[in-house]
Symmetry: C2
Subunit: 186 residues, 2 copies
């Protein structure tokens, strides 16, 4: 008897990812998300809850997608090739300025809702776990894959920040190349 929902849940979350990715956690208002998703205020609040809830859904979904991309970057490549591919890809997009939603989020966590903080941290934990597995898979002899994974994530975060500093793109690109070489060779 109930009137069915007229929108696609995952499509809405994907649109929300776009909105938060573009505008940032704090600066993106519920109205912005509403406009991006196309649904009405009431539908949003009745289907998801408050802003924090859709934010968490968006972050989780982003991490899912990101992990898929991560595994693709490692497929059939050496560690050095994979890292150089990932790092240079980051260094290339220097104009869009969106960066990585997860990294942007962790840098805007101060004073945020506890549940949101936990969602973001859980996202990083998942990323680190998958990264460590991929490292171990590509270089089975390593006993310190977890440390290398942390180092890689740190390098990615560093490059994404470097990207926003306005330093010459050539410098950022060279830093990316060095990070890839240093980590793979260490």
């Amino acid at each position: 008897m109930p009137r069915p929902r007229t929108f696609d849940q995952t499509a809405v979350i994907d649109a929300a990812v776009g909105a938060f990715w573009q505008g940032g956690l704090g600066a993106t208002s519920v109205d912005d998300v509403l406009h991006a998703t196309g649904l009405a205020r009431s539908s949003m609040y009745s289907s998801f809850g408050g802003k924090n809830d859709i934010l968490q859904a968006a972050i989780s979904r982003y991490v899912d997608r990101q992990i898929v991309e991560l595994e693709q970057a490692f497929r059939g490549r050496s560690l050095h090739e994979a890292l150089e591919s990932i790092f240079l890809e980051i260094a290339r997009h220097n104009s869009d300025g969106k960066g990585c939603l997860l990294i942007n989020s962790v840098n805007e966590l101060r004073g945020a809702d506890v549940a949101v903080i936990q969602t973001v941290r859980a996202g990083f934990a998942r990323m680190a776990k998958h990264m460590a597995e991929l490292v171990k898979q590509v270089q089975p002899h390593r006993a310190d894959s977890a440390c290398v994974a942390a180092e890689i994530i740190g390098a990615i975060a560093g490059l994404r920040t470097l990207q926003k500093t306005g330093l010459p793109p050539a410098l950022v690109r060279e830093a990316a190349r060095r990070f890839a070489r240093n980590i793979a060779e260490s």
Copy 2:
């Protein structure tokens, strides 16, 4: 004839640095800054201008102080020693969660005032220039000191982000050690 200012300009800016550092660029309200500095609304607006103006003053002042600390960290040390000192110092403070004001700021720049963006970027340019000079001073044979400087700043930014991810502190510390070793040896 004019009534003189009863507050110390630089002390006020230092207090503002503390407020923005603690609370973040966007989340810190003018009232927060007022409370931290102790002066009244009118004094703030008549002496500095709007929120963006005091924000810029705070960022510039923070960079000044940070550059002094940077030079201290390099004094009488090898590159590897200096980097390990800086990186491990960052990795140690994992509970305060304040990070670095400049890096926090660059991650909150989306949609910000153009003048603020320029101030932040100018801060990074100054940091990069000083870092390159220090590298060149410690390892005169290097021709690529600017690249190494960018790499170091990237590593610092990465570590500061890593710090906020909730990953195990031991992992962050190990990543710091690796960054120092990799960069110094490359």
